[in-house]
Amino acid sequence: MKRVAYVLGLPVVLFAAWYLLSAGSESFYAPPLSTILESFGKTWTLDRLGTDVVPSLLRLVAGYALAAVIGVAVGVTIGLNRRVRATVEPVLEFFRAIPPPVLVPVIMLFAGIGNGMKIIVIVFGCVWPVLLNTVEGVRAVDSVQIDTAKAYGISGPARLGRVILPAASPQIAAGLRQALSIAIILMVISEMFAASNGLGFTIVQFQRSFAIPEMWSGIILLGLLGFGLSLLFRLAEGRALRWYHGLRDAQRRS
């Protein structure tokens, strides 16, 4: 009961504040919340969820999954090899610092204007936190652990799967979590170019056609979506890293 109050308390207060403050607002661009909520129901019908939200989500999932796989794979390779790391790190930092929207036209050149382009934009933006965190995580693996594994003759894939990846996993999870919010941003950005459907496209379209309450309802939906996804992520992380959180709690209590 108390937990529920904590979770819902502040959002309810803020929402109420927004509702009351905006009631009777005459400003064209900041309509009353009641109007926005009304248009929320009208705008995001099942039909629309199917035609706009689902394609966006599919691209998001595809891009995010690809980024995770590439990020971890490349990150482990780089993290384990000092020479490779020294060589490519500046290049990686360079690409990471380039804002993804400016790269969209370049990516379009190579990947066309279909779903592939949008997925690549997502991958390109959110691979960096995964990759760099994996590198850091792999580098920070306890050398005693590695030596022990070596001494027991554990090598190759077994060492990677049993020792290195688990040890680096909290760090990788940190990267994956950062990547998730970036992926959502890029889902929206990629749909600002050459799109004909999608949540980001729809919001931009509302903005351009001056359908302001609908635009706000889209922003709220984006927030809900991000919230839902990060909740899912937390659940997954909690399960996968149960040992780690347990360990930390134990260390703390002792």
Binding site: V91, E93, R96, A97, I98, Q178, S181, I184, V188
Partner: protein, 251 residues
């Protein structure tokens, strides 16, 4: 040194791709032409003005975000009731893509520095806040208990127990926020048209000045590298005493 090899490799690759006809050089010009465009641009006052505008938006936004993130993070993190009460709100607001705020930014600030700042602060604030919250949560309960038993006041505990523990996390947050802030500053300029490198990129793009566009993109990348290097150097110097505790945060 090796890092330079990597960058050199990239330059060679971009020179060769169009020269060998693998991509059309009208759309991806070779490095030499990009460099020439950059050379022409470097001598103009306009260019430096744009770099200055971008850095200004970046710096002001970052300072605001860091200050707000640290204050709010410590306040919220140190009071369990507050932390519980705000957790869901933070989780809700954090993933709202800052680009969704673009219309709002234009509405409030037009295409001035203000709209860049709104986006930069919004995006960078969460990076700092979340790291500070982790840092505060990492405070050793025994140290805290000890401080209490010595009858340290709230302020003294924040100053001597909480802050030193949270500091490495704060730095990680600042470093992450510094890169995000640059990305958002340029994005805002690009999409909204606020003055800065992003706007120059947009103008080059609509004018069909392709080599210049790539040159400016490269400049933003280099700025990012420079910011990252500076942040790391600063972190190392300030936290030299803290090396043992340091390490990336399992966020």
């Amino acid at each position: 040194m090796r890092g330079l090899t990597g960058l050199a490799g990239l330059l060679v690759l971009v020179e060769l791709l169009p020269r060998l006809g693998l991509v059309n050089d009208a759309y991806l010009p070779p490095t030499s032409r990009i460099a020439a465009a950059l050379g022409d641009e470097l001598v103009t006052a306009e260019f430096w003005q744009a770099v200055g505008d971008t850095l200004m938006g970046w710096a002001i936004g970052l300072v605001i975000a860091v200050a707000a993130g640290v204050v709010v993070g410590i306040a919220v993190g140190a009071v369990p009731v507050l932390r519980a009460a705000t957790a869901s709100t933070i989780e809700f607001l954090r993933p709202i893509p800052s680009v969704a705020l673009i219309p709002l930014a234009v509405l409030l600030y037009g295409t001035d520095l203000g709209s860049t700042l709104l986006l930069v602060v919004y995006a960078a604030f969460w990076q700092v806040l979340v790291q500070v919250l982790y840092g505060v949560a990492d405070v050793d309960p025994i140290a805290d208990e000890t401080a209490r038993s010595f009858r340290f006041g709230t302020w003294a505990r924040v100053r001597h127990v909480l802050w030193p523990t949270a500091l490495p996390y704060v730095f990680t947050g600042v470093r992450l926020a510094a890169s995000v802030a640059l990305v958002l500053a340029v994005t805002a300029e690009l999409v909204i048209g606020a003055p800065g490198l992003g706007k120059s990129i947009a103008v080059a793009q609509t004018s069909g000045a392709v080599p210049l566009m790539y040159a400016l993109i490269a400049v933003t990348g280099l700025l990012g590298v420079a910011i990252n290097l500076a942040a790391r150097a600063f972190e190392r110097r300030t936290l030299a005493w803290h090396q043992s505790v340091r390490g990336e945060v399992p966020a």
